[in-house]
């Protein structure tokens, strides 16, 4: 099956600054793809290249069945976009803005639109200048979600939404994927990504540093193990693949690289396990491991 978005070694420079420095991304049909990275990592730049607003300096970019720069207006009939910082026309009402943005793509499904307005509890009669940040965001979300598109590009779409609306957003995205829509979701809200995304790509300084399903990423990384043993696990740190070992009396806590987990547990077993808890790394752990200043590489 042809991917919806294929990006290979994408480079975009602003003067001498390389905003994108060989970024790769693949969005498969029907999937929700999480696009993670710290501020300034190049997420928005990538999305703006995909929208044909910026021109790639080098690398290949393929969007749906065309070139995002050359075929922009044809491709845009099949996608919708929500920016992270929505600016509206001060003298247009929310409804007018929605009708404008959605109407450009084709006929508006008024039933779906009104349903979304109700779900997001948006007052569409206000002028653009009177909306708060969260409400401007809702206007853009309704305009994007009410169309019949193949691809949603969401750039931190829930910034400014309250937790209730956050949940509404998630269920709206689930509805969209049930219709077969592919979603590229750039987000800092890791719960949201864990709940919605099939696969994630983590970018840093304009490069993709990790990509795969959450399970893949977890398997590739360390598991945290906390155990209480009859005899103190004083020599456990000498085993290969163990990190951050802390021994306090009979209690030991450590991180173990996935390939060495079995050997480590066996070693603990020989010491006589009293209690054992282990948990896979949370997305937050993965995230922090990539962005934290400790440059401990993820075990491969």
């Amino acid at each position: 099956m042809q991917p919806v978005v294929t990006i290979e070694s994408l480079v975009k420079c602003y003067g001498s600054f390389r905003a994108l420095d060989g970024l790769d991304l693949e969005l498969r049909e029907g999937e929700v793809h999480g696009f993670l990275g710290p501020n300034g990592a190049g997420k928005s730049t990538t999305i703006r290249v995909l929208l044909g607003l910026l021109r790639a300096d080098s690398g290949t970019v393929r969007l749906l069945d065309g070139d995002p720069w050359r075929d922009a207006s044809r491709l845009h009939r099949r996608l919708a976009y929500v920016p992270g910082d929505v600016n509206l026309w001060p003298n247009l009402t929310g409804l007018e803005a929605i009708n404008l943005i959605a109407g450009l793509r084709g006929r508006i499904d008024r039933k779906r639109r009104d349903d979304l307005i109700a779900r997001f509890e948006l007052d569409p009669a206000k002028k653009g200048r009177a909306y708060s940040k969260g409400n401007r965001q809702k206007v853009a979300l309704v305009a994007a979600l009410c169309g019949d598109v193949d691809l949603l590009m969401l750039d931190e779409p829930t910034s400014g939404l309250d937790p209730l609306m956050e949940a509404t957003f998630q269920s709206c995205v689930e509805d969209a994927t049930a219709r077969g829509v592919s979603v590229l979701l750039s987000s800092h809200i890791l719960d949201e990504v864990e709940r919605l995304c099939d696969r994630v790509s983590i970018v840093r300084a304009g490069r993709t540093v990790e990509t795969g399903t959450l399970e893949d990423l977890r398997h590739l990384t360390r598991t945290t193990v906390i155990a209480e043993t009859r005899r103190p696990a004083t020599h456990i740190a000498t085993l290969p693949g163990t990190h951050r070992v802390e021994v306090a009396g009979q209690r030991v806590s450590l991180d173990v690289d996935a390939p060495h987990l079995g050997v480590t547990i066996e070693a603990l077993g020989r010491l006589g396990i009293v209690s054992l808890t282990s948990h896979p790394p949370t997305l937050e752990d993965l995230f922090l491991r990539h962005y934290g200043n400790d440059d401990v590489a993820v075990a491969a």
Binding site: L51, G52, L53, R55, R77, Y81, W89, N91, R129
Partner: protein, 522 residues
């Protein structure tokens, strides 16, 4: 933090943002005065020349309406005051309007003022600092004009009075701008209110100076001129301006205290909006219509004023050499109309500039993404704005021409007199379009098109209004498209330059469009 300390910090921050803007306005304002001193001296080398001109000028109601009351016109100082004070007042007014608007209503509209107001400062500090900077700028403007004219060699008392009256008029419009900033939610509306006040002040004093003198006392610009610089100066009219400034600022503070942050006196009322489809064309029209309608009305009224005065140019002056020089036309009436239409066309070009800068504004505000993330092609988007700008330019020019023509026809009771000013106004269409095309080119290149556009327009205005007086070389003046248009109705319509300018506008515009299609959006 104490209020004066906070205001001082804010004024420093405003200064940091505005220094070039202030430099440009103050330099421009000073130039207005000095260019008059220079040109009067050049045009009338002997006292006899000047005296002869003074007699002619002081009885020409049309000129009185466009400048001010005739006093001491046989002196260079009197000439400078007469020809510059009213326009200087407009410059000071617009400068004050921009400074106050930028730092009060615009800051609230964009939400930046929240950051400031959340600080440990008095609620009034942002208003006070904006007003303070505007008043300071007017003091500097008045001082430089006054001091400069003394340095030029004009009498000190007159120069000082002229400078002080300029400062005080600027203060009054600072007060108007401060009140306007409290009334509306939008910055543009606040600017529109102040602009109308400035325009009305100019118009009212024109009526008074050409007709019953008492009428001029209803205009702040009239108060400034009532100080009689270089003609037996009197200072007490300045007290009127000071009192009006105090009154207006008091009203502004009172209104400020009665409204919530981010709201105006005219609050937005939520109402059901009709659920109609709105396309990109409708949006383009909605974005431009305020500019087009407002400027059309303004120029219609200005045209009515000029048209009403045109006929009197003939009655009063007869055929002296001087006026033939001044208006360089076949008949004085036609000469006057030609100059009036040129000024109106330059104002129409200002409207067209505002309109042509819209796409750049939409891009900078990040609103164009919504449209271009849809299937709207960016060339098509730019073209829509261009079409609205062109049609809007035609409308504004037509309004100016019709206003002038109708009033002229009414005064002369000759129905056919409607058409020459209309044709004259429309003859400037390609020149105005060249200015808008240059803006499109700058936008296509990703340059600061606002700077390019306003600089180009300022240059065209300078050359159009002062080029002959300053005897600028034709290689320089010919850079302005307005210089290639025949000065109708005094001169015959010239087809070739008209068509050529249309061609230039089209080519530059197409180049801008092509460049826009190939660059990154901001």
């Amino acid at each position: 933090m104490s209020t004066p300390a906070a205001v001082a910090i804010l004024i420093r921050a405003h200064w940091r943002r505005d220094r070039w803007l202030l430099f440009a306005w103050i330099t421009g304002g000073c130039f207005l005065y000095f260019s008059q001193a220079k040109s009067v001296e050049a045009m009338y080398p002997t006292a006899e020349d000047l005296e002869q001109a003074a007699v002619a000028m002081s009885s020409n109601q049309a000129m009185l309406a466009m400048t001010g009351p005739a006093r001491a016109l046989d002196t260079i100082g009197g000439q400078v005051a007469w020809q510059s004070a009213a326009y200087g007042a407009v410059v000071a007014g617009l400068m004050s309007m921009l400074i106050v608007g930028r730092h009060t209503r615009m800051e609230e509209e964009t939400g930046r003022a929240e950051l400031i107001r959340a600080g440990a400062i008095d609620r009034l500090a942002p208003l006070a600092s904006a007003v303070g900077l505007a008043m300071l700028a007017n003091v500097v403007l008045g001082s430089v004009v006054g001091g400069g004219l003394i340095a030029y060699g004009l009498p000190a008392a007159g120069s000082m009075t002229l400078g002080a009256s300029l400062t005080l008029v600027g203060w009054v419009f600072t007060g108007v701008a401060a009140v306007a900033a409290q009334l509306s939610v939008g910055t543009r509306t606040a600017y529109a209110i102040t602009s109308v006040a400035i325009g009305a002040s100019f118009f009212v004093r024109g009526l008074g100076d050409a007709g019953p003198a008492a009428v001029s006392w209803f205009s702040p610009i009239g108060w400034g001129q009532a100080t009689r610089p270089f003609a037996d100066e009197r200072w007490w009219p300045l007290a009127l301006s000071a009192a009006a400034t105090g009154g207006l600022l008091t009203i502004a503070v009172w209104l400020h205290g009665r409204r919530d942050y981010g709201t105006g006196l005219w609050t937005l009322t939520a109402r059901r909006t009709p659920d109609t489809d709105i396309g990109a064309w409708a949006l383009a029209w909605k974005l431009h219509r305020g500019t087009i309608i407002g400027w059309s009305l303004g120029l219609l009224i200005s045209g009515l004023g000029y048209g009403a005065l045109a006929d009197s140019a003939d009655d009063v002056l007869g055929d002296s050499d001087f006026t033939a020089d001044l208006f360089a036309g076949t008949t004085l009436v036609d000469g006057f109309l030609s100059t009036a239409v040129l000024m109106l066309a330059l104002l129409a070009a200002a409207a067209a500039t505002v309109s042509a800068l819209r796409p750049d504004g939409e891009e900078s505000a990040g609103r164009v993404e919504h449209l271009l993330a849809g299937p709207l092609h960016r060339s098509r988007w730019a073209l829509q704005h261009t079409v609205v700008t062109v049609l809007g330019t035609v409308t504004v020019l037509l309004s100016a021409g019709i206003g002038t023509g109708i009033a002229h026809a009414a005064v002369t009771t000759d129905a056919d007199a409607v058409w020459p000013p209309v044709a004259a106004a429309l003859s400037y269409l390609p020149a105005v379009l060249v200015v808008t095309a240059v803006i499109r080119l700058a936008h296509g290149l990703g340059w600061a098109s606002a700077v390019v556009g306003w600089t180009a327009l300022a240059w065209c205005s300078f050359v159009g209004l002062f080029g002959d007086l300053m005897a600028l070389p034709s290689s320089v003046t010919m850079l302005s498209p307005f210089e290639h248009v025949a000065r109708m109705p005094a001169d015959q319509f010239a087809v070739v330059p008209w068509v050529a300018l249309c061609g230039v506008a089209l080519c530059v515009s197409v180049a801008g469009q092509a460049l826009l299609a190939h660059r990154d959006l901001r």
